[in-house]
Structures are given as structure tokens and as C-alpha cells.
Symmetry: C2
């Protein structure tokens, strides 16, 4: 049996061509925080540093993955959509990079799952960041997701 | 001589691997608004509709392209960086799609070029959207860019 994180990586690569083009890897999932990593070469821009679209895509996928993996751990089958997000580009990234995502301050999985059980639909805010080698964020993303319980066929 | 828009397309495809993976085309540039188009297949997600990362990347590149082409038309050599952006995902996109970008309301190229001439650096806000076939936006992006005049070597 692959771990849930390994299964997620396989699905992302199989079903999202751009994740494959980015050469995405799931690096770590600890039940609260998900880290995705990519090499620089396929994610470079015209200036020789990381392409903004790759930074944002990786942070969005890491955030989506946190919601998706948390749902799977509880055996819930939902569609998870990103609704909106805000990204800040703070510094150029000149090497391979990773994005780490977790719940935003003030959010809890308990409230999220309680609302989902009661209404079949719930929202969740997440934060993600691409750290520089000194740990300071090169880019950060705040996003809101909605999960909708899939109707049984 | 290729048109400035054709030259931009060639550069994007040559220098940004992800633009190539997305199969990006420059569709139109009228001096104020830039439209970039992609087929759905390389930009699909796990649900069979457009991947959020592709929507955001295309809108960001279209916005960047407006600034870049406006600068080139005036013979200015600048580095153009995106600083921050906010994206709203409103409806899924089930076919090939395009992103159109233009200056945000209240912005003017005149002010931008005046500031650039005076200070060697200027900021500009843009809007971009991915229209559905009925013209309503499936996704929209507001972003801020900074242009910095390149020092002559």
C-alpha cells in the first residue's frame, strides 16, 4: 500500500499534465502540513529564476493537497475547489524550490469537518509559502477552498 | 520583421518551459490589451476542467506581456516583475481558453512612463480575465507589477 502522500503524488502526476511538466514531488506530509518540491530547470523564467506561475501553481497544489489528504484520512469523498487566492512575490528564487502549506491562523479541521457533516459543504483558508534557503519566504499565498461531499451514485 | 506580439510569443516559448508545456499562443495585441490562448488538453486538472495553476499562469503572463509590450513600443529596456496578485476562480472551464489583460481602472500608461522617466522605476496595476464562451469571467486576476530601467552595461 502506498502512503496517502505517495498516492497523491502519483495521481497529480497522472492526471495534471502541468504537475508532470513541473516535475513535482511530494516531499512530506505530517497530517497538518504538506510540502511539494520541484527542480528549477523546468520551472525557470526568462530571467533565469523561478517562473511566477510555477511558484503559484506549487503553492496552490500544496494547499489543495492539505485539504484533500485531511479528507482522505477521515474516509471522506469530496470535490475540493480553490475559490480565491492572494499571492505575494517577495524575492527571486534561483534554485530548486519547495512549497509548504498548512491551515491559516484561526482555522481548525474540527470546525471544518463539523460543518461538512452538517451541511455537506465547508470552507477552509490555508497559507502556503516558498522558503528561501535562510527560511524567509520568497513567495506566499493565502487561499480559500471549498469542499463538497460527492453524492453517492 | 516579426510583429512585437509574435516576437513575445517566440521568447515566451523559448525561455519559459512552462509556457511551452501549456502550449501558449499570443492571440492578439492592440496596444492596450493582450490576449493569450491555450488548448485545454495540456492544461487540464484531475476533474477534467482547466487546472487553476494554468488559469493563473496565463492571466499573469498576459498581464506581464501588456507591460512588456508597452515598454518595447517606446523603446524602453526594463525588467518587469509581478509583485502581488489576487485571483478569483468563479466557474470551471471545460474547453480551450484564453486570458485577456489590460490596465486596471484608474491606471494610465502616461503616468507610468512619466514616473519611469523621472525615477527609473514605476508600478502599474492590471486586470486579466478568462472569459467563458458567453463572455462572463471564469476567472479573474488583479495584479501589481514593477518595471525597473535596466542599467546600461
Amino acid at each position: 500500500m502506498p502512503t496517502p502522500a505517495a498516492a497523491l503524488e502519483r495521481e497529480l502526476l497522472a492526471r495534471i499534465p502541468l504537475a508532470r511538466a513541473m516535475d513535482l514531488q511530494v516531499q512530506n506530509w505530517d497530517g497538518a502540513s504538506l510540502t511539494l518540491a520541484v527542480p528549477l530547470a523546468p520551472n525557470i523564467n526568462d530571467k533565469g529564476c523561478a517562473f511566477g506561475g510555477s511558484l503559484t501553481s506549487l503553492m496552490t497544489l500544496a494547499s489543495w493537497g492539505v485539504v484533500e489528504l485531511a479528507l482522505r484520512e477521515r474516509g471522506l469523498d469530496c470535490d475540493v475547489y480553490v475559490q480565491d487566492s492572494t499571492v505575494r512575490y517577495r524575492a527571486p528564487v534561483w534554485g530548486d524550490f519547495s512549497a509548504q502549506a498548512q491551515l491559516a491562523a484561526g482555522e481548525s479541521f474540527e470546525d471544518f469537518f463539523a460543518t461538512l457533516a452538517a451541511r455537506g459543504k465547508a470552507r477552509l483558508s490555508l497559507n502556503a509559502q516558498v522558503p528561501l534557503t535562510d527560511g524567509s519566504p520568497a513567495a506566499s499565498l493565502s487561499s480559500r477552498f471549498v469542499a463538497i461531499v460527492r453524492a453517492a451514485d
